[in-house]
């Protein structure tokens, strides 16, 4: 059963991530992590789907399908699936996974969805509510642009603080403790609002949530930044990462600069003209479910704190000039 320590939920049974998979689109496949992904699609039209929304669903389906196949677990033995994406009413997820015949609980945590899904799956497996659970998330550059910003072919310039939504999906199958990596503890974050209204600067909007969750996690578990190989934020990008480090140093007295990394900074290279880095549910989902879990499984990394960061705004709230609240969820994964 999960044990509460402060707000952190410790998972004493340490559920294992049995298998994981990540699939991405074209630009991500041209990035530095190309070799780590299970499959890089040659275009953002996935398997000939006629709309961007269906392409995202297909991407999501593919990631979950690959993870389940790799795990060797039968679909009928999976008790619950936690998944979500950025599109209205989470259609990116539901239209992709509807043929799986697995009990489904849809999540919305904006770009923090992968960490949130892992945390939910971890708690379910640890409590015995599920023998096997799936956690997954996806995003698609084109469907996100269409919903949140401008049409793809609209000729405009982007702010240097803007980030590029990752076309990608990641999935993990979790079960009782077997082999590394293990989920040790999770923390559901609190919503933070520091009054940022610039939707082209999501990193700045989300950094306070990451700072709050990281400091809460370190305090509640009595650990120090040095105890982790990586504190990995979801998609703060370059602007948000710098703000996070500064906030943690000045407000919370933690220095994480030596061990901090960000999925949004890992997935693209500077020359790819992606401005402040990658973003979207698929960003942390594809990076975590590829290189990070591989290195944890191989024992190269001993302890990683994944901190998924989400900006909880909608096109309507942005048009109404409301500030952008944000949330961050933490999942501590270890290899021994």
């Amino acid at each position: 059963m999960p044990q509460k320590q402060g707000n952190v939920l410790l998972l004493p049974s340490q559920p294992s991530i049995i298998a994981n998979a990540a699939v991405v689109g074209k630009v991500e496949g041209e990035g530095p992590l190309a070799q780590e992904f299970d499959f890089c699609y040659p275009s953002d039209t996935i398997n000939g789907m006629e709309t961007w929304e269906k392409s995202e669903s297909e991407l999501h389906r593919d990631a979950v399908d690959r993870a389940i196949k790799k795990s060797g677990v039968l679909k009928k033995d999976i008790d619950i699936m936690f998944a979500g994406d950025l599109l209205n009413q989470c259609i990116g997820t539901t239209f992709g996974i509807m043929d799986f015949d697995i009990p489904f609980a849809g999540l919305f945590g904006a770009c923090s969805t992968m960490a949130m899904a892992l945390a939910m799956a971890g708690v379910f497996c640890d409590s015995g509510a599920a023998q096997y659970a799936v956690a997954s998330a996806s995003s698609h550059f084109c469907s996100a642009e269409k919903q949140f910003r401008f049409p793809l072919e609209y000729g405009g310039q982007r702010s240097p603080t803007a980030q590029r939504t990752v076309t990608g999906a990641g999935a993990a199958v979790m079960g009782a403790k077997t082999n590394a990596p293990f989920i040790e503890a999770v923390l559901f974050g609190k919503v933070q609002n520091y009054g940022i209204t610039d939707a082209a600067n999501m990193g700045a909007a989300m950094a306070p949530a990451a700072a709050s969750t990281i400091s809460d996690f370190l305090r509640d578990t009595n650990t120090k930044p040095e105890d982790y190989d990586i504190i990995l934020t979801g998609d703060l990008g370059s602007v948000g990462s710098n703000l996070l480090k500064e906030l943690l140093k000045t407000k919370h007295n933690f220095d994480i600069s030596a061990i901090h990394n960000d999925c949004g900074l890992m997935i693209f290279e500077q020359q790819q003209d992606t401005h402040a880095g990658g973003s979207g549910c698929g960003c942390s989902a594809s990076v975590f479910n590829s290189v990070i879990l591989r290195r944890l499984g191989a024992g190269e990394l001993k302890k990683v704190l994944l901190v998924g960061t989400g900006a909880l705004m909608s096109p309507t709230s942005a048009q109404q000039k409301s500030p952008i609240p944000s949330v961050a969820h933490a999942v501590c994964v270890c290899s021994d």
């Binding site: 709309t51 269409k146 793809l152 072919e153 609209y154 000729g155 310039q157 520091y194 940022i196 710098n242």
Partner: protein, 155 residues
């Protein structure tokens, strides 16, 4: 009761964070952006002049030439938008492609393409003016006001 219409004053924390954010956020490269916009915008306008010169050589009247030049630029923009080239140029040119009539044409063609998947009526038809709509609405409004002024004071 809290009313949402009142604009909330930023708290000290928000103000402090706003300062931090401004410091951490890189600015747009204004000089290089302006230069690119100037060159590309200038080239588009030169193209307009060239078209004007060529059309004048034909049997068309001056009024017809004046209509045909923007029409040609609009059609060219629509084609280049459809080919996916306009967006690539605009990423660099910014205001250079946006300010001439090319920007207006692109702002109608791009959503029309994007929302094709929602059908001709609720997709292309309804969404094609989502960006250009305000320009048309307020442009017509301004024309009406100007018309009144012209009517009462000049005519």
């Amino acid at each position: 009761m809290r009313t949402m219409s009142k604009k909330k004053q930023p708290t000290p924390i928000e103000k402090q964070y706003d300062e931090m954010t401004k410091k951490a956020s890189p600015n747009s490269r204004k000089f290089i952006n302006t230069l690119k916009a100037f060159v590309v915008g200038g080239l588009i306008c030169t193209l307009g002049e060239v078209l004007h010169y060529l059309f004048e050589k034909t049997a068309l009247s001056e009024d017809e030439v004046k209509a045909l030049v923007p029409i040609t630029l609009i059609v060219l923009t629509a084609i280049f938008t459809g080919l996916g080239l306009f967006g690539k140029l605009a990423r660099h040119a910014g205001a250079g492609t946006f300010v001439p009539i090319t920007g207006f044409a692109n702002s109608i063609v791009s959503p029309a393409m994007e929302f094709q998947s929602e059908g001709r009526v609720l997709g292309t038809g309804a969404k094609m003016f989502t960006i250009a709509g305000p320009v048309i609405a307020y442009g017509c409004g301004a024309a009406v006001i100007y018309g009144f002024i012209y009517y009462f004071f000049i005519l």
